[in-house]
């Protein structure tokens, strides 16, 4: 696509969209969003970039190949689920670590496997869709 306006706008938009996708991922536990939606938005951001600058450039911007990202995500999700199993709960039970307190109300913030799992979902969706799109685009 040889549109200067689109190409120029894309550089700005893509970064914003990508940050927005991370924002959607992180807010998902309480507000509309989550790993699936975040992954979709992240994928759209890179698709816009590849439409503007070509798949080769987009691949370079991603640094890691999308198939690897998808598999990495699947592995992270699995590990997040296995963690509870290792500490003695049924597989995929959410584990929470309260920092600066002993419950959700008193803690300053929490570390939990649920978010780790959601990050895995995000990466699978992002990588899966991008590996498809890039393959389509490169198929000339």
């Amino acid at each position: 696509m040889n549109s200067v306006i689109f190409t120029a706008a894309a550089r700005l938009l893509v970064a914003l969209m990508f940050v927005f996708s991370l924002f959607m991922l992180l807010r998902g536990h309480h507000l509309p969003g989550g790993g699936f939606i975040g992954g979709l938005i992240g994928a759209v951001s890179f698709i816009v970039y590849s439409l503007a600058c070509g798949p080769a450039e987009a691949r370079k911007a991603l640094r890691i190949s999308p198939e690897v990202i998808a598999m990495l995500g699947l592995g992270i999700a699995l590990l997040a689920g296995m963690f509870s199993f290792i500490v003695g709960y049924p597989l995929f039970t959410g584990q929470w670590l309260w920092v600066g307190g002993d419950s959700y109300e008193t803690a300053a913030f929490s570390l939990n496997t649920v978010l780790v799992f959601d990050i895995g979902v995000y990466l699978v969706v992002l990588g899966g869709i991008l590996s498809l799109t890039y393959a389509f685009e490169e198929e000339t």
């Binding site: 790993g35 998808a70 999700a77 959700y104 799109t133």
Partner: protein
């Protein structure tokens, strides 16, 4: 002989010796059961396997299974030791050792299993492992073909047998053989005939009864140790074992007596003539195996003490001499380079030990006193005279045994004492691991004959008791039973057999002429298989057209039809469409969706159709927003967007829509589309008509914050309450993406390769 260039050679030898030692240990383990089983105390082990289906892994050691277990492990150990020498230096010897050991274990499981389903599983395991063994020389196309033939034939029979077992399980309420056999004959039960036919189909294909016999001689494509093992105590005896095992349940009807007598007798006589006709000694032995299987089947038709004793004695004696003879043929082949009966002769000087072992096995086969074979033949005649169809069975046995006598001469006498022909190389004696088996087996045949009481007490009588389902009176197995009709028949057999041996060259020529005119079942099998392949190809071509539109048409037709039939048969009453009370915005979205749909159907441009479809999707997303489901709406919107992008990328590479093609298919397509849409609407309205069940909603609303510390219920369900589902879904996403990626890249690579070729 070991190949020094192979760095793994010591390991391969070790794998062979290891499996041999394990098998020998198993043999010793089973020896301890001899005394309790002979005293009438069978042993049973049970583990739960699939309790919900009443299938347990239960093992039962009684006289019958113990005799088989000892033969399987005892002969197995000798064959494995033999193979270690016979196949030494073969590049895949380790594989062979694994196959043979797995086969041995499957066979052991088969004879020990007390549960019909477990028996079936082991049955099929022997089929698969024997497939690997028969096709071991896999570079030879004939070997592969024969292995496949054995697999298809016996596995098909096995499936029929499974159906029979399931019928038994359903009608009798148990899969346990010990319970079934204790309950007595099923002959007056419903489905008896069906059960019998299905089970016999399994037994007859496995034990190669005419007309399913042709796979067995072909299975000789395997290396000699495999033939020795499969065709003496194992594989082919599995069918006979099944008949014996289920004798108490399945016998007791005229159908049983007639079927087994006729199939068995025809197989026995046919096979003995065929054995005489062969010149390759291995083929000769293959047909004598068939003869033995026929004889065993024939005697299992009976239910009297002598008939069953005959079957069990003959089974024992045949396993011993047949394994010995096969192994002996291997030594001869190894030592001279040929197995041709016309060439071999005068080997007694060069191969004295082999000659002695062959003589012992041959005398047992011919049924000469004082070998156990003689006793087996005496008991067999006594049994035949007691049979319901004695008028048919006695002459058939006489012919078969006389021919066996002649064949024993060809196999065990002529190569060592007859005139010597042109041998490929100077004969030499085999190494000791290859001689141990034939010698031990030959000695056993003689010892059991001299001391029939021991064999009878520990092996034969417990087995007879197991088959008859009641303790046996015993005392039938003895070397000298006095002057009686069986002895007279034996003498006639010897005379007739000697005559046949004298004239066997002449007979062979005549048989060859008859064979040339007879229908060739083996070639028929190939034609059948070829026809089947043609049929499946035609069928695949018809069903798998490769046109996506046809697949979707079929899928949606089935969907519409099932929904329609359900709606009609369930008499769900009417539904009413309500258009009152719709807001302006709701009307607007509905019109948007309808307009998009009309455009999709009308346009002849793919891109326009795609965008119009996007409009429909965004309309649906708007509905989600109006009914306050923001998560679903966002997802819907993004997915619509990505679908449009992905399809647009794909469409760029596709030709424009063909207006004529669309016109041609439009009427049925339109009917189907309206039907699917209309029926879905009706079903949805019916669902909405029901009062809404709030239990799940209430639970998640209450638990989402207290248990999972999240306020977005949708996301909490996704990543906490139903994480396993989500994990499954993302796994699907990842695998689908990888699959599509591989397809696209694979096409690109194949095309590149093609272009390079040009």
């Amino acid at each position: 002989m070991a190949d020094n260039s192979d760095p793994n050679a010591p390991w391969k030898t070790l794998s062979g010796l290891g499996t041999t030692a394990l098998t020998a240990l198993l043999f010793l383990y089973f020896l301890q059961f001899l005394a309790p089983v002979a005293a009438g105390e069978p042993v049973r082990f049970v583990w739960d396997w699939i309790p919900s289906l009443d299938i347990s892994l239960s093992f039962y050691i009684d006289g019958l299974s113990l005799m088989f277990a000892l033969l399987i492990t005892g002969i197995g150990a000798m064959v494995m030791l033999y193979a270690a020498k016979y196949l030494a230096g073969h590049p895949h010897y380790d594989r062979f050792a694994l196959y043979l050991f797995s086969f041995m274990l499957s066979m052991l499981g088969l004879v020990l299993a007390d549960n019909l389903i477990a028996l079936f599983v082991f049955w099929e395991l022997t089929t698969f492992t024997s497939y690997l063994l028969i096709g071991y020389l896999h570079t030879d196309p004939k070997s592969r073909r024969n292995a496949l033939q054995a697999l298809l034939l016996t596995a098909t029979g096995g499936l029929a047998m499974l159906a029979g077992f399931i019928l038994i399980g359903i009608t009798q309420g148990t899969f346990e053989l010990s319970e079934l056999n204790a309950a007595g004959s099923l002959a007056d039960q419903p489905f008896y005939l069906g059960i019998l036919i299905l089970v016999l189909a399994g037994a007859f294909t496995k034990s190669a009864q005419v007309p399913f016999h042709f796979w067995l001689p072909n299975a000789m494509a395997a290396p000699t140790p495999v033939s020795a093992y499969l065709h003496s105590a194992t594989m082919v005896k599995a069918g006979v074992y099944l008949l014996a095992r289920m004798h108490p349940s399945l016998s007791g009807s005229d159908v049983w007596v007639w079927t087994l007598s006729i199939f068995g007798a025809v197989t026995a006589v046919f096979a003995s003539f065929m054995a005489l006709r062969q010149t390759d000694l291995k083929q000769t032995l293959a047909y004598t195996t068939l003869m033995a299987l026929g004889t065993l089947t024939m005697f299992l038709a009976g239910s009297t003490g002598y008939a069953i004793t005959a079957a069990m004695t003959f089974l024992l004696v045949h396993s011993l001499y047949k394994a010995g003879l096969f192994l002996m043929i291997g030594v001869v082949d190894h030592g001279t380079g040929t197995r041709d009966a016309n060439v071999l002769g005068g080997l007694r000087g060069a191969m004295p030990i082999t000659a002695a072992a062959a003589a012992a096995a041959g005398l047992a086969m011919a049924g000469i006193p004082p070998f156990l074979g003689f006793i087996a033949k005496e008991v067999a005649y006594a049994g035949a005279l007691e049979m319901q169809l004695w008028l048919f069975v006695v002459p058939m046995s006489l012919i078969a045994f006389a021919l066996m006598f002649a064949v024993a001469g060809i196999v065990a006498y002529k190569p060592f004492y007859g005139p010597q022909g042109e041998l490929p190389h100077e004969p030499h004696e085999g190494p000791w691991p290859m001689l141990l088996g034939p010698v031990v087996l030959g000695v056993l045949g003689l010892l059991f004959g001299l001391m029939p009481g021991i064999a009878a007490y520990y092996l034969i009588e417990p087995a007879v008791a197991a088959v008859m389902g009641a303790p046996d009176v015993g005392g039938r197995v003895k070397l000298w039973a006095g002057f009686n009709l069986p002895l007279l028949l034996s003498l006639i057999t010897f005379a007739l057999g000697f005559l046949l041996y004298q004239r066997h060259m002449d007979l062979r020529e005549r048989l060859a002429r008859i064979e040339a005119r007879a229908p060739d079942l083996d070639a028929g099998w190939d034609r059948l298989l070829a026809q089947f392949v043609l049929y499946t190809k035609a069928q695949t071509k018809r069903i798998q057209t490769g046109v996506l539109r046809q697949y979707m048409f079929a899928t949606f037709s089935v969907f519409a039809l099932t929904v329609l039939v359900t709606l009609i048969t369930r008499d769900v009453g009417g539904v009413a469409l309500q258009f009152t009370g719709l807001s302006f915005m709701e009307w607007g979205v509905a019109i948007l969706i309808i307009a998009g749909t009309v455009l999709v159907v009308q346009t002849s441009s793919r891109i326009v159709a795609l965008v119009a479809l996007g409009v429909v999707g965004i309309g649906v997303a708007l509905i989600f927003i109006m009914f306050s489901a923001p998560d679903v709406a966002i997802t819907q919107l993004l997915v619509e967007l990505l679908v449009v992008v992905l399809l647009a990328l794909a469409f760029l590479k596709m030709p424009n829509l063909d207006p004529e093609g669309r016109q041609k298919h439009s009427l049925p397509n339109a009917v189907l589309a309206v039907a699917v849409g209309g029926l879905t609407t009706v079903v949805l309205l019916l669902v909405v008509d029901q009062p809404f069940d709030r239990r799940l909603t209430d639970f998640f609303e209450a638990a989402s914050w207290t248990q999972a510390f999240g306020r977005n219920i949708v996301n909490v369900i996704l990543v906490d309450f139903r994480t396993l589902d989500t994990f499954g879904e993302i796994a699907v996403v990842a695998v689908a993406a990888l699959g599509a990626f591989a397809l696209l890249k694979g096409f690109a690579r194949a095309r590149d390769a093609k272009e390079e070729d040009k």
